[in-house]
Symmetry: C2
Subunit: 712 residues, 2 copies
């Protein structure tokens, strides 16, 4: 489908909005949306359309969109499914730019063809479709509230994109309760045309939007989503809730929206790659959005905890380890900063303990000292209710210090734990947009999110590393295999692909007769492996078609004869192309590298430890292609068994450069070679530094519905 068309800005800032199916009945969606638009204070042209005409909410109703006349930026289609297709066609014919198709009853209930037809009709005429099966949208920039749920959305700085309508509507209420203002909200529903990536392109540059929250059930054009997310997360935090993490949840999601959830492991790794903050629960996501939409960005990673409760300080310290928040450790400096403001029996070590005897001036003193010292980059302030503390001043103390930090551009967050005065402070401060939470873990999780975002956004853009490969050669191999009616490559073809990709394999040659076998063996050196080459013999070992660990000429001769007689006896009609003579790769660290076209994200790379590690421990991770060498290193480090590559038990470091090279090369192949859907190198043997890495065994599958060998 075409990605071009009108500037997405006209969706969020339309100069005119038409409501097709505007209703006189206050119970109907076509009334409710119009009401929200009017009451929300939209200042552009509002065009209610209903064949009955008349007047609704003081506005004249047009009997048709054509009658309304003029250029229409945004059409909202609320009529039932049986009328919706015609209505959408009308709007497209009249040159409308965007169409929110509220109407349900399309692909989510199996009416896929209708939805596809409607969408392509619109796209051919340049009109973009949002939905169908959505509750509408909100845009603070246009004061446009075009949703059929609760009105009175508070403008703010969090943008929400939601695939679930029901959850999205309930979120509107929840944002009010949590005092989380919204800059924009779009229900994307079936995503027949517009999807997250389109909206992100606007929202990442949208001044009012400080944080973007997405609720995702299934990914459409994941390849493009990755590109856009990588750009967006450098500009502002993007928080994603993706349901269907579990196997059963994925099944439930599929039956619920018809969307293909894909593997959660891949999704999770790719989101990390994109710098996205993935939240598990809605509450966690809301906490992140509330904090990140108000927080300054830190200048560095020196975080200090200030507390009046030792126990709660220890809990926060634990939480900092969990959420990878780095606690500042220079005890000399800490002493110089906090000694003047810490009561007797307190501690100036981090967590700085003001003791249970602390009062609001003690907190203010310590927080100001931390604010003024440039070595400290962020502060977590934990209040634990005590009898000594002047509770009447709690709210003011927090509000004032938070304001000083805000003015100075230094992040601060508060946790308040205790009884009714603590709860009251929490409620009051939340209403004022001060970053304060109840539970210590919740609080620290927000700081962890801040740093995850900050590390990603402040890192040098890593760029993309690709390898030089012989695409034409690979295309020829793929085409030949296809011509042969196969959807997989034979061993020799796989080896040829590896050669074209510049990936080393153990030397292998195919002997047509015993003399050749002996000559190859003598030329290659020992030990060797011999294997029957025949597409008619699948289980080569079981048929006696394999001989390992051949040490000399005599063993090669014996093995040749044994393999031939075994295979001829057990698979009499097999066409035998020869016997493969291969260098026996010395053992190294066994890795696995997979390259495949993921149904959601397109070309992806899997990396992990091979053998039982991948089978039993599932110790693997993923990345969307293309990526940089630096990202490939990050990928390696995610593997639990990574220390094996660095060398354990006094072993030398392995040739990590060669492994990286293999990863980049396989990434380039899977990205550029359309004809290939799947390559698995298992094992890739990594040897000691300088000794390289070799792809000992590979398997290549071809794409099902693709003609050419490569994109090139």
């Amino acid at each position: 489908m075409p990605r071009d068309g009108h500037d997405i800005k006209y969706l969020f800032e339309p100069r005119s909005v038409a409501v097709i199916g505007a209703s006189h009945n206050a119970q109907k969606i076509g009334y409710k949306i119009l009401q929200n638009i009017v009451e929300g204070g939209y200042e552009g042209r509002i065009l209610p359309v209903n064949p009955k005409g008349g007047e609704i909410l003081g506005l004249p109703v047009y009997t048709s969109l054509a009658e309304a006349g003029g250029e229409v930026d945004l059409v909202i289609t609320t009529v039932p499914a049986k009328f919706a297709t015609a209505a959408v066609r009308d709007a497209a014919d009249l040159g409308a730019k965007f169409n929110l198709v509220i109407t349900s009853g399309f692909s989510e209930v199996g009416n896929i063809a209708e939805e596809r037809e409607l969408t392509s009709y619109a796209l051919e005429r340049g009109m973009r479709i949002i939905g169908p099966n959505i509750f509408g949208m909100f845009s603070a920039s246009a004061k446009l509230d075009a949703n059929f749920g609760p009105g009175g959305i508070s403008a703010g700085s969090v943008a929400i994109i939601t695939q679930s309508g029901a959850l999205g509507l309930a979120m509107i209420g929840k944002t009010a309760v949590e005092n989380m203002g919204i800059s924009a909200m779009v229900s994307v529903g079936n995503k027949a045309d517009i999807e997250e990536a389109d909206l992100l392109e606007y929202l990442m540059h949208h001044d009012l939007t400080k944080v973007i929250l997405m609720y995702v059930e299934g990914v459409g054009d994941g390849d493009r989503l990755v590109d856009v997310l990588e750009e967006a997360t450098r500009l502002k935090p993007v928080v994603v809730i993706k349901s269907g993490r579990s196997k059963r949840g994925a099944v439930a999601a599929a039956s619920h929206t018809g969307s293909l959830a894909g593997s959660d492991d891949v999704f999770d790794a790719v989101m990390r790659q994109c710098g996205v903050l993935r939240a598990e629960s809605i509450q966690e996501a809301f906490n992140l959005c509330k904090f990140l939409s108000t927080s300054s960005m830190p200048a560095g990673e020196n975080v200090v905890i200030v507390t009046n409760g030792g126990g709660i300080g220890v809990l926060a310290t634990d939480a900092c380890e969990k959420y990878n928040v780095k606690l500042y450790d220079d005890n000399e400096t800490l002493k110089s900063i906090f000694d003047p403001v810490t009561p007797d029996f307190g501690s100036t070590k981090n967590p700085v303990d003001l003791t249970g005897g602390a009062t609001s001036p003690d907190f203010t003193g310590a927080l100001n000292a931390a604010l003024e010292h440039e070595e400290i980059d962020a502060v977590i302030s934990l209040y634990c209710e005590t009898a000594v503390f002047d509770a009447d001043n709690l709210t003011e103390m927090i509000e004032q210090t938070a304001e000083s930090y805000r003015a100075a551009g230094k992040p601060v967050i508060y946790s308040v734990f205790g009884g009714s005065t603590a709860e009251a402070a929490l409620a009051t401060l939340t209403k004022k947009g001060v970053p304060v939470f109840g539970d210590v873990y919740e609080t620290v999780a927000c700081v962890g999110g801040l740093y995850r975002h900050w590390r990603n956004a402040s890192a040098q853009p890593a760029g993309i590393d690709e390898a030089e490969i012989d695409e034409a050669a690979i295309a020829r191999i793929v085409d030949a295999a296809r011509a042969d009616g196969r959807s997989f490559l034979l061993a020799q073809e796989g080896k040829d692909v590896m050669e074209a990709a510049g990936i080393k394999m153990p030397e292998t040659r195919v002997a047509k007769n015993m003399d050749e076998a002996v000559r190859f063996a003598e030329e290659m050196g020992y030990p060797l492996v011999m294997k029957i080459v025949s597409r008619d013999i699948l289980h080569k070992s079981d048929m006696g078609g394999v001989a390992l660990d051949l040490e000399n000429r005599e063993e090669v001769i014996d093995a040749y004869q044994a393999i031939m007689s075994n295979c001829r006896a057990r698979v009499p009609h097999a066409r035998i192309q020869g016997i493969q003579v291969s260098e026996m790769a010395p053992s190294g660290v066994e890795l696995i590298v997979g390259a495949r076209k993921d149904p959601a994200f397109g070309p992806t790379i899997m990396f992990g430890m091979g053998g039982i590690y991948v089978e039993v421990l599932k110790d693997v991770t993923f990345r969307a292609v293309p990526f940089s060498r630096a990202e490939a290193i990050e990928m390696m480090k995610e593997i639990r068994a990574y220390p094996l590559l660095l060398g354990v038990r006094g072993e030398e470091r392995k040739d990590i450069e060669s492994v990286l090279d293999t990863i980049i090369r396989l990434g380039t192949v899977i990205q550029r070679c359309d004809g290939i859907s799947d390559i698995e190198v298992n094992p890739l043997m990594a040897y000691e530094q300088g000794q390289g890495a070799k792809a000992v065994d590979i398997r290549v599958l071809l794409s099902e519905n693709s003609g050419g060998g490569t994109n090139a």
Copy 2:
């Protein structure tokens, strides 16, 4: 310290309470506690003691405890540290049963000797000490509120034991806000005498207490705690928050309370073994307590989700996988139950989706259908705010259905997500003690806790499995090594201990000369390993003192000569006891089994995969000894690499019985043999079913300050 003394009941249900240091000054702790006792409605004798005499809060003040006269069950010492010791002695001399030593300034600030002296004086006279350094206690059974923090604690069914005073005081306020009634609360502070186990012995049989919550920073007599917890968790849920999980948190905890945190991995595994529900955050712990104190116990594991939101249903499904909640799967039965009560376009599959069009009667219908059907054991009901739902009836619907479930003894829990009406319902229902939460993950986490508890409490008690070992022989070996001035065993001694413990090792004999070496080799068969035996040669390989993989008589002769000449040349003065000739163990699955006296929990067993698994992946787990064979199996299953024992890649199942046997035997040794502090078997080679397991290499350390070899 003596564990006997007065029945712990008199701590929780004292007939008389004396406050030493009762104060006329309302700002003082000695006033505040008295005030809480009086206002809390305590009905026993209240004896304020202050040398000044007079009257406080309408009560006559005694100038000394002696003057007050009569038997005193509970004394509360509030005077400063410099007077506290004398006050505690007085109380002990007068035969008081329990003494809450509120006073701080003891071991927590380094005054360890004072604390020890005070405690032993009391214990020798039969008086038990709680604290010092505590805020007091509350006991609903006696209507006794003897804490110096906020009064007005609501009686309820959650008992709290807290090591942190500040956090405990703040928790009192928090319980009020969360509407969580308290059955008993004890601040244990420095735990000079009374610790968690003493209190659990009362609370586990305390009718008012439905759930026990403990906040722990360090474990004292962990061995006893394990015994008591195992008993308690069969009777009611025990929730534990243990701070200092992280390395840095453990350091902070140690500097905060002076308690030794110990390894969190061990703590975590042992709590699991005890059937304890460990909570990470205070909020998580409170949620568990609120739910478990009101919930019925399920009859089985068939859980059904009923929802009006598809998206939220998927999130809950994900959460069920995370928290190991089993969703009922029989679609036929589900259809028969829910078809009559599910609207069109809804789904009777689990999660049962009533659709966004559902109203309160739809929810009531579905919840009643689930209640009536005996196949369904528990229900998670998720409400997602919609415009269609009759919000006015939300609270009533939940309250009524919850009451029906309560009456029928079937667990139900609710999640309510949305705006202000949802929040209002949440607040109202929480006040009424109905199990309702906001976030879906929070909600499902509670159900997960219910089932973790239920599985533990409803399982057959597994008992204890111990092995027959020759303790006397082990004691002799240990004593001989000690007499030799060593704190470790030599290889042959270690082997003798293994033999006495009935654990198989590869056959090994020590040859005094070459003839013996050859004879042993011929008798044992090949391949063999030879190794120098000399306590003067530590790095045997480096000195040329080891020969591997000897295949025949000639190689044995060569190796003998080579080892002798290498060692004599490189360590000229070494006393050589002989050369060890050992069977070379065939390779199997490499395991590691450790048995040690843990500083917190006493005898413990570590189990994991050996080699790089333990070094790189830290794939190990722990148990406190003794335990049953069934528990040992659970332990094995916790290892990520467990499938290797079941056999992967077409390999046979390994001899798990022999591994279990080794675990039980090592557990028996570490438990019974006082003289041994540490045994590490690494690797324990596990062979195929029926082929056994062999301890290939072992290392034994002796206890530092222990005389005899065994307890026997």
